[in-house]
């Protein structure tokens, strides 16, 4: 490209070096890899080759980062939540405002990158799975912009609890395909999208929504989301003169967590905390805490922690937030847990809902229920720290999509019948 599309100094703002890469087969330690059906091995290799070729091409980043700035609205602010910090009475809490991205969550960082890759590969159609609908909306959005045919696979149960996002996807021109198999949630939507992709990979690109799945998705999705942590790192240094003491993100598949946390990988003074969905409590079976309560297993193309029964059948999960309601987790987070870099925490449905209310009332920011898990744990961690310390929380999405769920739970308390 002869004319720069942008006015960003990319070389100083974003580090394009691929740090802590997996091995050539996509393994992070013993995790990851490409446990895929033969039919998908060649298409996955083609995506891998196209990704590395694109990543080495300055023109790819020029267009990607221009879209991230002028279409998505990056960089997103880092907000010192003074009122929330005062309410907690411990460390200073800083919120990385991914909720302010176009489409309302971090997911679009990845869909922009993958849609550009799809176009580069000459694919005219895209498919995606979605749980909460945020990735589906982010995919439908870029498909509309790039004029690509778009099919989104979504569990029927998730369609029910995320109705506004379903409507948004349809408005954007996507076809939302209900999935009735298994538990009718995110894992089944992934199964169905994989089945469809097996049959259509010649002209169709699968925009995988999280940093899981077969190689190269965990690496690629991470690379597209590290803008979160790279910005936050620079913003922390700028606003506080130092790195945060703790960085906190919620984990379902792990895309916002790896995006925030990975750029701090080598900053050993920064504690990295992943917050899983504790559902109705980790002592029972109704949660989605794969890292805390699962064990290594193979699903959806990679080896990672999994919630499963003693014979390896995948368990049904539960979370108040559809986006965390997934029995697996990205392989790199599993590797970071095993090598000691990552610490685990969790928040139950009730704790997430309480954090949702607190943040809304203290700061006038309505978070997504997924992000509310990070807020809950972040508040708890901050409470045990000193006022001169800082806790960075990834506010990965906004709560507009959750109004229906929250109304059902809190409507009465607020005089819901009069709303």
């Amino acid at each position: 490209m002869s004319q720069p599309l942008h006015n960003l100094d990319f070389s100083s703002m974003y580090d394009l070096e691929i740090k802590h890469p997996p091995d050539a087969g996509g393994h992070f330690g013993k995790f990851g890899g490409r446990f895929a059906a033969e039919t998908l091995m060649q298409p996955l290799k083609e995506i891998e080759d196209a990704f590395f070729e694109a990543w080495a091409d300055p023109a790819f980043h020029e267009e990607r980062l221009d879209l991230l700035k002028n279409y998505v609205g990056r960089q997103t602010p880092l907000y010192h939540a003074k009122h929330l910090s005062a309410e907690v009475g411990g460390a200073q809490i800083y919120l990385k405002r991914e909720d302010l991205n176009h489409t309302g969550a971090h997911k679009v960082n990845n869909t922009i990158g993958q849609a550009l890759l799809a176009r580069r590969m000459g694919k005219k159609k895209v498919i995606a799975e979605t749980g909460a609908g945020q990735h589906g909306v982010a995919t439908a959005t870029v498909a509309a912009m790039f004029n690509m045919e778009c099919n989104i696979y979504m569990g029927r149960e998730d369609i029910r609890r995320q109705a506004p996002n379903v409507f948004r996807m349809k408005l954007l021109g996507a076809n939302v395909v209900p999935v009735d198999s298994g538990t009718s949630t995110l894992k089944d939507a992934v199964n169905e999208a994989l089945r469809v992709w097996v049959a259509t990979c010649e002209d169709t690109y699968y925009i995988f929504g999280t940093a899981a799945g077969p190689h190269p998705f965990p690496l690629m999705v991470r690379q597209f989301h590290t803008v979160i942590g790279q910005e936050a790192r620079a913003q922390c240094l700028d606003q506080t003169g130092r790195l945060p003491d703790v960085a906190v993100a919620c984990v379902g598949g792990g895309s916002n967590a790896i995006g925030l946390l990975h750029p701090f990988y080598d900053d050993h003074e920064v504690r990295l905390v992943a917050v899983e969905a504790g559902g109705r409590g980790l002592d029972g079976n109704e949660h989605a805490a794969s890292l805390a309560a699962g064990k290594p297993g193979i699903i959806h193309g990679s080896l990672s922690y999994l919630l499963e029964d003693e014979e390896g059948q995948i368990s049904a999960t539960h979370s108040i937030s559809a986006g965390l309601d997934y029995p697996g987790v990205g392989p790199e987070l599993a590797a970071m847990l095993e090598n000691g870099r990552l610490q685990l925490d969790s928040a139950t449905d009730d704790q997430a809902l309480a954090a949702f209310k607190t943040l809304t009332r203290c700061e006038g920011i309505i978070p997504a229920l997924e992000s509310s898990h990070a807020v809950s744990a972040g508040m708890r961690i901050a409470a045990a720290m000193n006022p001169d310390q800082t806790v960075l929380i990834n506010l990965s999405g906004r709560g507009d999509k959750d109004m229906g769920t929250v109304f059902e739970l809190l409507g009465d308390e607020l005089g819901g019948d009069q709303v």
Partner: protein
């Protein structure tokens, strides 16, 4: 070759001038008692039987085999039942080839060492795991070989020559050529294309090449049997379970349909 039994099957078929019939059913479908009877009935007509291990998330299977897995799990099928059904088939048919087919997480969770030991003891000859391509064989190849179990690998229309060589180098027993880029039970692709690709794979390997995915009629079985070393029929047999009601009716329909496939294959010469 990790195990002579499967090799012997193909030798016998070759001597008879025909392709092998490879039949698939999911263990435990529709319930444990019926499943054992159906498996034995199918084994009567088959040269090799693929015993499906039910899995909660059968990503590479179409609606027919997905539903079979769900029925089996709802009926309470456990991996121990898969081994017991395997044992029954082995006792009734000392010379048949038996392949356990399914997804990685089941043997991985048990541990490949224990799994292989139990599979071998039950009478299995090989393992076909859809989501362990040659590249990930490091988690199981040596263990399977040590237990004398064949590692059956898949090839598909998207497999490049490089991938064909990879499968031929890492696989044993036979190559399972998935004749279309799709999930199990979809419609068959173009027969000429399948024949050309099969011949190409045969030219690159000494291993027998079985062709499957989408074979529903004896005519298709005969057409495939004319050039392939084996004809795999799966979804069509499984669909007899829902197309008929009552154990006897299902069993009769399955036998009739397997017999028709077998006769069609025997009528076609390789």
């Amino acid at each position: 070759m990790n195990n002579p039994r499967i090799a012997n099957v193909f030798q016998r078929c070759k001597a008879e001038g025909r392709a092998a019939l490879v039949g698939y059913l999911t263990a435990g479908d529709p319930d444990l008692v019926t499943s054992r009877k159906l498996m034995l009935a199918l084994a009567e007509q088959s040269d090799i039987i693929e015993i499906g291990m039910p899995f909660s998330d059968p990503m590479a299977d179409g609606p027919v085999i997905q539903a079979a897995s769900e029925r089996a799990l709802e009926a309470g099928a456990h991996i121990q039942d898969v081994f017991e059904i395997t044992r029954s088939v082995r006792e009734a048919h000392p010379e048949i080839g038996i392949v356990l087919m399914g997804y990685a997480n089941i043997p991985y969770t048990m541990g490949f060492e224990t799994f292989s030991e139990r599979a071998k003891a039950a009478g299995a000859d090989g393992l076909l795991i859809v989501d362990i391509p040659p590249e990930e064989g490091h988690i199981c190849d040596e263990i399977l070989a040590a237990h004398g179990l064949d590692r059956i690998l898949l090839l598909s229309p998207t497999s490049t020559d490089e991938r064909i060589r990879l499968a031929c180098n890492h696989g044993t027993g036979f190559i399972y050529y998935v004749s279309l880029t799709g999930i199990t039970g979809a419609d068959m692709g173009d027969m000429d294309e399948i024949r050309i690709k099969t011949a190409h794979i045969q030219s690159m390997s000494d291993m027998p090449v079985c062709v499957g995915f989408g074979i529903k009629t004896p005519e298709q079985a005969a057409a495939v049997g004319a050039f392939a070393d084996g004809v795999v029929v799966g979804s069509h047999f499984v669909s007899q379970i829902t197309a008929n009601s009552g154990e006897q009716a299902i069993c009769d329909a399955l036998t009739a349909s397997a017999l028709a496939m077998k006769e069609a294959i025997c009528g076609a010469t390789t």
